[in-house]
């Protein structure tokens, strides 16, 4: 568990440290603004998948909150 916390903290810091030199100017956002480039393109499909895998596997969430609200597991 401790290992996991340290790993996450290091990853977060590494990502943040690299952030300032990455990215695009506001006028370069044409592609990123496209609907198919959003992190969740189809929210209903994402919700459906989260629900299916929550009921059939021992892991849930990750992308967001851990699903649940269901007596299926």
């Amino acid at each position: 568990m401790m290992k996991m916390r340290i790993l996450s903290a290091v990853l977060l810091l590494a990502v943040c440290a690299g952030c300032s030199s990455m990215g695009v100017e506001p006028w370069e956002r044409d592609v990123l603004a496209r609907e198919d480039m959003q992190l969740i393109t189809d929210p209903l499909e994402a919700a459906t998948d989260d629900h299916i895998y929550f009921s059939k596997e021992a892991s849930s969430g990750g992308r967001g909150f851990g699903g649940g609200g269901c007596g299926c597991n």
Binding site: R29, D36, M37, Q38, G61, G62, R63, G68, G71
Partner: protein
């Protein structure tokens, strides 16, 4: 979510457009943190006031196991100043059989139904399935979102669902803040849930025996559990064609975490066969052997690390994600998900999807209980706590109608295959197919329009 319209009204047209796309990214990051039930941004150019997103799902497992027909809808109302309200609605109709947790035998077996009102039989050699599974689930979500300052986005929501034997009530909140010319978004979210488990016939005393029909002396009424989820995330624009996200999630569950319907077979220490009942079978029926109700710890802590990348390659989009999960039940899992969206003309696309999942078994996972040894404090033979791999493979076709509405159809196959650790197999169990492998078909049709 008012994401796409998020331009500030007094800005110039061009900067407003930029702000919109920034907001789309920001909102998407928030969506990601909020998990289910939050709609995607709409097309910024049309500035619609309403967004309707509806889908019909069929989920069916082979071998007369679980079938689910589901209707899901998310309706979003956009207000001035980029505020929005989303209401989600789901109805599931579930039927079919589910593994009871007992092992196969060379002779026919009988079991008392969870209600305690009757018994059912399983033919010799068959995996014991409890065919009484039938439920309707209704779920509602509501989510309010609004800008917080110039670079922040605040969201609060609630969720509730009701099944015959389950009630869920949850609250959640999330804040996302953009930095670094809006190329970096940090977000934090929290969700709390309080659920009550209302098993048919009452929750059985853990590790007590399945009793004869009509005997409910080991039932303890309703139970409850609380779940807290915390998610921290970073999303980062790497280049014009690449955006990435990393999330860390913590989940703590506390309370009744058993499955009240699952049992384990109590077996002979040499043959591995289920011990027969010790008293004559009463006229109304009862279990043919000795089966004990499962028991899990009443706490569970999960940690997961999720990372996702979306990469544009000349109009085709690769969506790649990986999740590592570990918990204090000693389950570790890895999930890799790959989607590739391939435009066909300007109005439609094909999207192949592959997902690989693998998990190790919980420390208290047992195929059966050895009667020659002391009973463990915790034991469950629920296949979902076992050691298994799963693969999903599917294809989605999406198209825009002449009136500009979005439709899509996807067909996917999901298959699980597991193994019971060799050191758990006793006597005759060695030659049997012990793990209830699963094959399911998923078909989903979605329709979305804005007004």
């Amino acid at each position: 979510m008012a994401a796409a319209d998020a331009g500030v009204t007094d800005m110039s047209k061009s900067s407003r457009k930029n702000d919109r796309s920034v907001s789309v990214t920001l909102a998407a990051a928030t969506c990601a943190l909020l998990g289910t039930g939050v709609p995607a941004p709409v097309d910024a150019q049309e500035e619609p006031k309403w967004d309707f997103n509806t889908s019909l799902l069929y989920y069916g497992e082979d071998g007369d196991r679980v079938q689910d027909a589901s209707l899901k809808s998310i309706i979003r109302r956009l207000f001035a100043d980029d505020k929005s309200l989303s209401i989600g609605f789901t109805v599931d109709a579930l039927t079919g059989a589910t593994p009871s947790g007992a092992i196969r035998q060379d002779t026919a077996q009988t079991f008392t139904r969870p209600s305690g009102n009757s018994a059912y039989s399983v033919p010799a050699g068959d995996l014991p399935l409890d065919d009484t599974f039938r439920d309707t689930r209704v779920a509602l979500t509501a989510n309010w979102q609004q800008p917080a300052g110039e670079k922040g986005l605040l969201s609060i929501g609630m969720s509730t669902s009701k099944e015959y034997d389950y009630f869920h009530l949850g609250l959640n909140a999330n804040y996302a803040h953009a930095f670094n010319n809006r190329n970096t978004t940090l977000s934090a979210g929290i969700a709390m849930a309080s659920d009550s488990i209302e098993p048919v016939g009452g929750a059985p005393t853990p590790l007590s025996a399945m009793l004869d029909v009509g005997d409910v002396s080991n039932r303890n009424g309703d139970q409850d559990k609380d779940v807290m989820d915390v998610v921290f995330g970073v999303s980062q624009v790497i280049s014009r064609d690449l955006v990435m996200q990393v999330n860390y999630s913590y989940s703590y569950s506390d309370g009744y975490l058993n499955n009240p319907y699952k049992v384990l077979s109590l077996v002979d220490g040499d043959t591995g066969d289920t011990l027969p009942r010790t008293t004559p079978l009463p006229p109304d029926g009862g279990p043919s052997g000795q089966f004990l109700f499962e028991n899990r710890p009443d706490e569970r802590t999960q940690h997961s690390l999720y990372t996702q990348a979306k990469y544009n390659m000349d109009g085709k989009v690769l969506d790649l994600s990986y999740r590592y999960m570990t918990d204090d039940w000693e389950i570790d899992s890895h999930t890799v998900d790959v989607r590739y969206r391939w435009p066909i003309g300007s109005r439609s696309y094909l999207e192949p999807h592959v997902r690989f999942y693998t998990q190790s078994e919980a420390e208290f996972y047992r195929l059966s209980l050895d009667s020659s040894q002391e009973l463990p404090a915790f034991a469950s033979s629920d296949y979902r706590l076992g050691n298994f791999d799963a693969i999903t493979a599917g294809l989605k076709y999406g198209w825009k109608t002449r009136s500009g509405n979005d439709m899509s159809l996807r067909v996917e196959w999901y298959t699980q295959s597991g193994t019971v650790p060799g050191d758990q197999l006793i006597g005759n169990q060695t030659g049997r197919d012990n793990y209830p492998d699963l094959n399911a078909l998923i078909v989903q049709f979605s329709y979305r329009f804005s007004r």
